[in-house]
């Protein structure tokens, strides 16, 4: 592990930002706290996806499957079999990790190209959605309503608003720090080598299968854990949200706009775009149906045109320019 990681961990800026963020529930109204919590959910999800999609360059659309397993399976285990949601979280994460490893193995074994990998992962995601919507145990198309969140920590309840916010803040911080750790560890170098030229990486002795599986398993487990926490926050396990490929598209969008392959890029994208989308809908939703989508789309296109590599590199350049001057 490079020194940079330990520097980040011991950075007063990091802890200062986290501390200030942790105080937000005392300053924000219920609605704005919800928006920030939602943004943190997407920070965590986009950061977990970034390990595979950004660092290893494998555009996986299977992440809705992992999120869905974390959300729907843990809910079903609780409601149908009475299994504690903490245990459900672990079971779901293990299953997601195994599925992730399987997808990575298929990719390696059949030497899938970029497009084939995208389509295979999309197929996995769709299969997951069909299984959930058609299987009564997992709630079927109706979904499942979890018991009221009374704040019983041992029952995986965090008391709603503030408690859920702190859980999401912790998860988001963990996911971003895992990104920082990987980027500063040999795994990060191997993944970037694989992303830039897989054949060359293989030729110089990088164990491509091993690192692809490692990246996918870490990413899948994180996404699954966030999925479980997210459904606990929502209380309603909605299959059309939690295991829909649309959620993956959103994650990919946030990561791309923020800065692919960077530790903080996906987090930046989610922190900017989630509140923007929510506020636009709140302010414009009643003006003209779909207007908020249109404006959101225009903003995203403008950002991508202005800075194709993401907002983070742009901000870094501006910061450097400002420092020099």
């Amino acid at each position: 592990m490079k020194q940079e990681f330990y520097d980040t961990l011991s950075s007063p800026i990091l802890w200062g930002v986290l501390l200030l963020a942790a105080l937000l529930p005392f300053a924000l109204s219920s609605y704005y706290l919800h928006i920030v919590t939602l943004a943190l959910v997407y920070v965590a999800l986009a950061s977990s996806w970034n390990i595979v999609g950004g660092m290893a360059g494998q555009v996986s659309l299977a992440h809705s499957l992992f999120i869905g397993i974390g959300a729907m399976l843990s809910s079903a285990l609780l409601l149908k079999l009475g299994i504690n949601m903490w245990l459900g979280l672990v079971i779901s994460a293990v299953i997601s990790g195994v599925l992730g490893a399987m997808i990575a193995w298929i990719d390696f074994r059949f030497q899938l190209g970029h497009l084939s990998f995208v389509l295979i992962t999309l197929a996995f995601a769709e299969m997951g959605a069909i299984v959930v919507e058609g299987w009564e145990f997992l709630g079927g198309a109706s979904g499942m309503l979890l018991p009221k969140d009374t704040g019983d920590f041992l029952a995986f309840q965090f008391g709603g608003g503030s408690g859920s916010f702190w859980v999401m803040l912790t998860l988001a911080a963990v996911c971003v720090l895992v990104n920082v750790a990987i980027l500063n560890a040999p795994l990060g170098f191997y993944l970037r080598t694989i992303r830039d030229n897989e054949k060359a990486a293989q030729a110089i002795g990088v164990n491509v299968l091993r690192y692809k599986i490692t990246a996918m398993v870490i990413s899948a487990v994180l996404a699954s854990v966030v999925g479980t926490a997210y459904v606990r926050y929502l209380t309603f396990a909605d299959p059309y949200l939690l295991i829909s490929p649309v959620i993956t598209i959103e994650i990919v969008l946030f990561a791309t706009v923020g800065g692919l392959g960077r530790a903080y890029g996906p987090a930046l994208g989610a922190l900017l775009l989630v509140p923007l989308g929510e506020v636009l809908r709140g302010k414009l939703g009643s003006a003209l149906p779909g207007l908020h989508y249109f404006i959101y789309g225009v903003v995203v296109i403008a950002v991508i045109l202005a800075t194709p590599r993401g907002l983070l590199p742009l901000f870094e350049r501006q910061w450097e320019r400002w420092r020099r001057s």
Binding site: F236, D238, L241, L284, P289
Partner: protein, 414 residues
């Protein structure tokens, strides 16, 4: 002028800020006592058809109430609607409701709120204790929610079962076997569960299922399955889109050996003829098909006929279907709740919801309810029944069930 990155940015910012500011412009002029009612509608997304048809009727009735003196028991308070769009996504229904309650300080909430949205909304309503009227949910899990939607059990399933039994026992149709043909989504699955039990209890043998994949581009495989099972009746809840595909497949396979009895949009939506075309429509919609609906222009209900004429001639609405009538009814229910509530506190509003009573024959009862409109203990409609209609080659509907509203007896099997 050349558009560069900077001018584009300035222009885009202007559009963005202007759009955000727009809803606030003009609010300054509001005066007098007002009651703020939050409306979370699905104005965009997959469920937009419900609200796009219903919202104009809802707004018309609210304007009319305001013009006639507002809520008289509250000093003539005017109802101010605060609108929001949940983009047909349940999680966003919850977020928008939270915004309306905490930021916009609404005193009552209403909106499309289908069943999945109702479930997502439940924790928010319980937390913020906001009395809410759903226009369409088939259930109400929060103590603070009442709904005008048809209950899955005693609404959809009971009505379809009762009609099939009436066809068999009163009109002597041969009905011994059934295939459950339903859209495979939340409401379709729920209704199917109850309907299967009821049909079995009524002595109808269920010989198979044909669940319609709501993402499918074609329902031929489902119709082939129905044809191979050859049931006396195919029953279930079908969405308009699935209905169009199913009827198209039936036309292509020229299959007329079963009766098709179901609800609601997939059998009775006025758009079916437009999408199928007159030739296909005539071949399948007018043969061995009966559809469940809460509204039909031909129903023998005076108050329903009057509101149709009013919405058409005075409000000048171009789409007056079940959605418009349901929303208009919601406006009248809210009016009664606000009039009868001792105060605008949550408990008093809930008490007023529980005592809502719009009897049959009342000019403000727009939906076909032979026992009038009241809420039961479970906060769903006491009378969840609906009507069955058959199509004529002229693309009109004739009510055939229940007897109170029927114009003609059911057409014999072709």
């Amino acid at each position: 002028m050349a558009i560069n990155r900077r001018t584009f940015g300035i222009g885009a910012s202007g559009v963005l800020l202007g759009s955000i500011a727009a809803p606030f412009i003009g609010r300054a002029g509001a005066a007098g006592p007002t009651i703020r009612v939050g409306v979370v509608n699905s104005m965009s997304g997959g469920l937009a058809a419900y609200a796009q048809e219903g919202q104009p009727a809802f707004e018309y009735i609210i304007k009319k109430i305001n013009a006639e003196g507002g809520i008289k028991s509250k000093g003539g308070a005017q109802i101010e609607l605060v609108m929001a769009d949940d983009t047909s996504q349940p999680a966003r229904t919850a977020a928008e409701a939270r915004r309306l309650i905490t930021e916009e300080k609404v005193q009552l909430l209403t909106g499309t709120i289908l069943s999945a949205q109702m479930l997502a909304l439940t924790p928010v309503l319980d937390e913020l204790k906001m009395p809410t009227l759903s226009v369409w949910a088939g259930g109400a899990r929060s103590d603070y929610m009442f709904t005008l939607g048809y209950p899955y059990d005693r609404g959809y399933a009971q009505t379809i079962n009762d009609f099939i039994v009436a066809l068999r026992d009163e009109h002597k149709f041969k009905i011994k076997t059934a295939v459950m043909g339903y859209s495979n989504y939340e409401a379709g699955q729920q209704v199917n569960k109850f309907l299967t039990e009821k049909l079995k209890a009524s002595g109808v043998e269920i010989i198979g299922e044909a669940a319609l994949d709501i993402r499918a581009q074609d329902q031929t495989s489902a119709m082939v399955r129905i044809r191979s099972l050859k049931p006396d009746v195919v029953a279930g809840l079908v969405t308009p889109r699935d209905g169009i595909l199913l009827h198209q497949a039936r036309y292509n396979l020229n299959y007329h050996d079963s009766l098709f009895c179901g609800g609601t949009g997939g059998y009775t939506d006025l758009s079916l003829w437009k999408d199928l075309g007159p030739e296909v429509g005539k071949a399948v919609l007018t043969k061995n098909l009966f559809g469940m609906t809460g509204f039909s222009p031909g129903a023998k209900v005076d108050s329903m006929q009057k509101i149709i004429a009013e919405l058409r001639d005075i409000a000048k609405l171009d789409r007056i279907g079940q959605g418009a009538i349901q929303y208009a009814q919601a406006a009248r229910v809210l009016q009664q709740v606000l009039e009868n509530a001792a105060s605008l506190q949550s408990d008093d509003l809930l008490k007023a919801f529980r005592s809502v009573n719009i009897p049959f024959g009342d000019p403000n009862l727009y939906v076909a309810k032979p026992k009038g409109l009241q809420f039961a203990e479970d906060r769903l409609l006491k009378d969840g029944s609906a009507m069955f209609v058959q199509w004529t080659p002229e693309q009109d509907q004739q009510v055939v069930f229940p007897k109170e509203f029927a114009q003609v007896p059911p057409r014999p099997r072709a």
